[in-house]
């Protein structure tokens, strides 16, 4: 069973920080590829977030998050008190725009995004249906 003092401390942190990342290492020096990928996504969102390095207390924290969130791997991103996911989910939600929605921010423009269609003419599927004047 998870340490109760630590559990309470973690729950406090989650409720005090609207965006909180439990990660291996720090945002400046991630020590795991999954944590690094999550930090890279968050850094593009233009938001402030809290970050906690789990490495000094990995096993106790794993027990705590398993108990409170049914999730035992790190990183874990909490938004408004709820576990959003780990690296895979964060990246997928970033790509779909759902992460921006969850964070309440605009989807950032990415310089290295796949090339956009050259002009509106390349987007027939998104054009409104043509109006036929004078019919009916």
């Amino acid at each position: 069973m998870a340490d109760q003092d630590l559990t309470e401390r973690v729950q406090e942190l989650i409720s005090e920080n609207p965006v909180l990342l439990f990660m291996k290492g720090t945002p400046a020096a991630p020590r795991c590829g999954f944590s690094m990928r999550t930090v890279q996504v968050l850094d593009q969102m233009g938001i402030e977030y809290g970050a906690i390095d789990v490495l000094p207390a990995l096993q106790p924290l794993r027990e705590v998050t398993t108990e409170i969130s049914d999730w035992e791997t790190f990183p874990q991103l909490y938004v408004n008190g709820e576990l959003l996911g780990g690296a895979d989910i964060v990246e997928e939600m970033f790509a779909s725009g759902d992460l921006a929605k969850a964070l309440g921010v605009e989807q950032p423009e990415l310089p290295d995004q796949p090339e956009q269609p050259q002009s509106a003419q390349d987007l027939p599927a998104q054009s409104p249906p043509l109006k036929i004047e004078g019919s009916g």
């Binding site: 049914d70 576990l83 996911g85 895979d88 989910i89």
Partner: protein
């Protein structure tokens, strides 16, 4: 013991009736697996809950050490 991909697929599909699951051995070492799952139970659930449902279905194989990493891809 190497993971039995067919068993894992069956465990997911049994836990989530109506689901279609594919379990792939990404590295060929049997312990880093990828599950692609489509399930009617996912409707209206957050991504994290969808992943929890898949993990819960195969928890026994995590607990006994058969698998160490499972990447989950939810198909819409």
């Amino acid at each position: 013991m190497a993971a039995d991909l067919t068993e894992l697929k069956a465990m997911i599909e049994a836990a989530l009736p109506g689901a279609e699951a594919e379990v792939i051995d990404e590295t060929g070492t049997g312990d880093h697996l990828r599950a692609e799952v489509r399930a009617p139970q996912f409707e209206g659930q957050t991504r994290i809950n969808q992943h929890r449902m898949v993990k819960a279905a195969v928890r026994e194989r995590f607990d006994d050490g058969t698998i160490h990493a499972l990447t989950i891809k939810v198909l819409d």
